[in-house]
Assembly symmetry: D2
Homo-oligomer: 365 residues x 4
């Protein structure tokens, strides 16, 4: 199945494995006339780079993006934008061991079950490097959204049991865990150091807030804005849960507590007194900030010894070698933000075609 594309009008197609020639993405359907440079994209790629703190892998990956097509004189032309990031740090390392057994929590077994064999080097297509294409494409989507006043901000909400108590967006850039609360970041750091001693790892929660979104994006049935966000977020490896607004807690709430009252907004607009819904009603944005969360499971690659089977089905004990992040949440933050940007750019373009009034605005002579 052709499963590497995402989006309808603003559509991306990612490709590439951990140990092939490179990874990349083709962005098709981006409107003409958006100013764009490699630097605009590189800024986002740098946010997902490893090797920036003791909690991320010390691998050196430059991940320099090259724009291969679709830009002319600094602007998008409306034709596909092809982006390439070469794999530079391919080690001559021996992968024969990893080839012979199934790592718990990884897709080794399921790739064999699906395709009959697998590219076992570094996770192949299931490698975290696959997200490079998402982030590079998401950077373009975010730029498009910015042009009409929409901005996204994702951050680490919790790591293991340690959650934020306060919110200072600028703090996100100051601590390696991307938490908007310095004290929580410190506690989370201590928690991770303990786990590292045990050769263990931690999960966490990424939260994303979108400001400036007009009411009216998303569709009432299958293409609900929240449904597409859920797919986008669950399509990121290691994500196990998705919450819109109050999320799972809504299941324990009552209607009186959960309903958001509409109230008069500034300049004759309509707004909501609360935002339990997280900015979407009936699948369509309601003009309030969009709020959603992703639960990220603990890093599967741990140095502690684990039970598994080899390809002959015999039980063995392994410990996953190499340096791995004790938590992938901070690196997932920009991926979550970018996937959301892709969903919203697509919804924004799509909503342009939903009224005869708009059709006439563009086409009537």
């Amino acid at each position: 199945m052709a499963g590497s594309s995402f989006g309808n009008i603003f559509r991306i197609t990612t490709w590439g494995e951990s140990h092939g020639a490179g990874v990349g993405v083709v962005v098709d359907g981006c409107p003409a006339g958006l100013s764009l440079s490699e630097e605009d994209i590189q800024v986002y790629l740098n946010r997902r780079k490893p090797g920036q703190s003791r909690f991320s892998t010390p691998r050196k990956e430059d991940d320099c993006v090259e724009i291969l097509s679709g830009i002319f004189e600094g602007k998008t032309t409306g034709t596909p934008i092809s982006l390439l990031v070469r794999n530079t740090s391919q080690r001559s390392r021996d992968y024969s061991e990893i080839a012979s057994y199934y790592r718990p929590g990884h897709a080794d077994y399921t790739f064999d079950a699906k395709y009959g064999f697998r590219d076992y080097r570094g996770g192949g297509r299931s490698s975290g490097r696959e997200t490079i294409g998402r982030v590079a494409a998401g950077a373009i989507a975010a730029r498009l959204l910015n042009e009409v006043g929409i901005s996204l901000c994702a951050y680490t909400r919790s790591i293991g049991p340690v959650a934020i108590d306060s919110f200072d967006p600028e703090e996100c850039d100051r601590n390696p865990l991307c938490m908007p609360d310095a004290q929580a970041a410190e506690r989370a750091g201590a928690y991770l150091r303990e786990l590292m001693k045990e050769k263990n790892s931690s999960g966490g929660v990424v939260e994303c807030v979108v400001q400036g979104l007009p009411a009216g994006l998303g569709d009432p049935v299958f293409e609900k804005l929240d449904a597409n966000l859920a797919k986008a977020i669950l399509s990121i490896g290691a994500v196990k849960g998705f919450e819109m607004g109050d999320g799972m807690a809504a299941a324990q709430a009552t209607g009186l507590a959960n309903n958001d009252s509409f109230v008069p907004g500034p300049n004759g607009t309509v707004t909501k007194a609360t935002n339990h819904a997280g900015g979407v009603l009936g699948g369509i944005s309601d003009g309030s900030p969009l709020i959603f969360r992703a639960a990220v499971k603990p890093t599967s690659s741990i140095a502690a010894s684990q039970q598994t089977v080899n390809q002959s089905g015999e039980p063995i004990t392994i410990s996953v070698k190499g340096r791995h992040d004790p938590v992938i949440v901070p690196r997932a933050v920009v991926v979550v933000e970018c996937m959301a940007a892709l969903v919203l750019a697509d919804a924004l373009l799509s909503a342009m075609t939903c009224r005869m009034e708009y059709v006439k605005k563009i086409w009537q002579k």
Copy 2:
């Protein structure tokens, strides 16, 4: 945007509003040669019918399905199966009041924001009746899955604060709340009676388990099995959260606790000692039971008085008239099960094309 279709190979298109001539669905891409009758579908529709207990609305809706095409001599022909359910209980009720304001928790405001106006009668396209098409189509998908040994079972896991403690699948049919635990059902019933006195409503959680799924379904990147399930489930009105396996709890777990060890299974197969993952690794089914949950928000239509604004933006106090379910979870159960069946039928057909070995099995002379 054309947002009323779901699925790629096994694809459905639903249509219809609460107060139009009817609701329906076209199922396209169903393989030829599946035996199918109206009765097979009606059984599923009956499960979502209201009026079956004191906790669901006493509206009389027969919801009799008519197969309009795609079946010949009791079998699918491979061409589109069109299903129609006429709206029979259209009341002459006056909707002019509801037309004039925005009900909290409903899509009234967002429809106006998106389309410029709305069919305000009974929620229009956002009505719960829209799920009839999903359930009718899902019944066909479930039948297809059954043919190769795959079965689905959804049930109410919790209502408000009351969760199940035990699991007896047959109990689901015995209590009106569709809970597999008779005692929990009784406690939940008491809880709901209290809320009804307050003209209030409750949310809850639906859980779904799939047995017999082969390993190898789903795709590694955007078409991950869990990503498509998340979209399917969040596309159901009132769902605010989705969890795969351990779900949100995985964010608080450690790698050692969360990783599922592979162990030798019967007859040389590979299986897992635990199933924190919920049956999917790297987006592909791993042969364990699939387990996921949906958080359903409390019924938005409550008789208690609420604040909102009218279409002129002026604040008003309303109380939603009519009889409404104090909880929609029991009726959502079959919808969740059917949406999952649609995702799985599509993934099953899709996975037939992923290996040259399969291509040769079908086409080599």
Copy 3:
């Protein structure tokens, strides 16, 4: 495969067989606010009705359309428009003979080869009645296009060897062959009468001209306007050839003769001195009238005796019973026009999303 949908943004899904309960179509993605009644659609359906002349079958088919959803207070709501036409003239006729052999020129054999069995009654899904859904949907697309000044006109260009010499659009409605040349229509009528004596049939050419199309519709690569028109037209049963502008003749032309010079148009516009291209350059409309042709093969069902095989593979001689049109070209005219309308409506909506300038026009606050 889900093969009964057409279009991306303005997307239709047709369903139904000759002898099932009915035929129909779901139109998804039509913008909200287009005024639409059953009468608007019925006018188009009446154009494809048989029984209007001696050259079309005397079957009585009322083909009354019912709008099941998507319209409120006389306007489209932006949600799916479901249209139903009941099959009223189902004869109790015995189809057991037709079930046993393969009619030359028909899809009996290929349906068996594909699906393993077939609904043999009246051609099943391959019946000409399948076009009812296309025409009903096309009527809506045409209405949308009219709102921004685009109009379509298809007609019979030739029947067998008899081609038109002059062009009077009003004449199309005056003769049963839908030819814009009364004298040609008379000659073609004489030709057909001769064929009918021989229990034979004739092919012909349908031509379609689109006026008022803005330059800039269509995409430069796979979604070229002419590529989508070609698919649309070849998807009509019995069509064997497609020509854009000069079509096949362009292959015999030279560059000097075939290139259309650009010349200054009225009010500072750019136009072309000639229109060999048929209104499209590089897959994108150029502002000139769109002109294309469809070659329709002779009616396959003929009363003359023919050789074929039965389902056991034994050679037999048959003559197809029932009354059949000696030429289907006049009835194909409205189908061609409607398929073109569907392609253009989709391209019109799609092109709204191709420039940042348009994005800002709709979304900038």
Copy 4:
């Protein structure tokens, strides 16, 4: 609009302009386990290379393909295959002149009309170089088809008024016009030399024959095999007409002459006495060879002087500079063959999902 993808299950996405960094394609949905090397693809790319005869441009373009992903140990892995061809012969040539006016027969004007501006260097996305991605992808599709006994052969059927009289497939490789008739090739060569003296160009017809195709590929309604072939072929720049089997001539035929009788074939199979249909009935392959033709217009870039307008709309006289092929038909041959291969690979995979019998063959334990 995202218009650079083609196919559903076997889907390609092309990107790249004449004067950007390169051109390429992502092939998604190719089954795992197909052996594939860069050499397999290069062989096809070499067939479309210019500079091989006096009738094609003397530009030096190496067009060496690099496989960036999707292959492991010489076999496809089932994940996207990304192919890159760098643009090596980018000239420092001054394009300011071409930037200022609209070349007749080219997409300069329509790109401006659509996007508001254009990459004017060498035709940008409308350059013939865009076909590199199609050919590279088509090479993979052809390899897949070969594995189950399906082979394609395209060739030049006519150039201007000179058509082939005989058919010797091996002759195609011996003359630079790719004609299967040495004498016709000689006459066509003489015709082209005359046109070159006049700074003029010629069109022609490409024909393609597919052998070994099983009956049963293609869908009965919109995804007819011939409809998808028509789209594929019309999506190639410069193609103005498409014929399936007898094509346009079918419009002048009678039913008795045009119907192909079914006759008993070898080993109890069913075959046809003639093949006017070109191997497809009701949109589904009938087991006979598939035969179709594409009409290619004359090269638009001619050195003879022509009238046009500049971007200010003023009339000017131009003559297109640079060396251009007097006929592009021979280079289009491999592009036609490759587009057909893409359609057929997609149809082959799609048809695997159309019967419950096949579903059980793959999935029943």
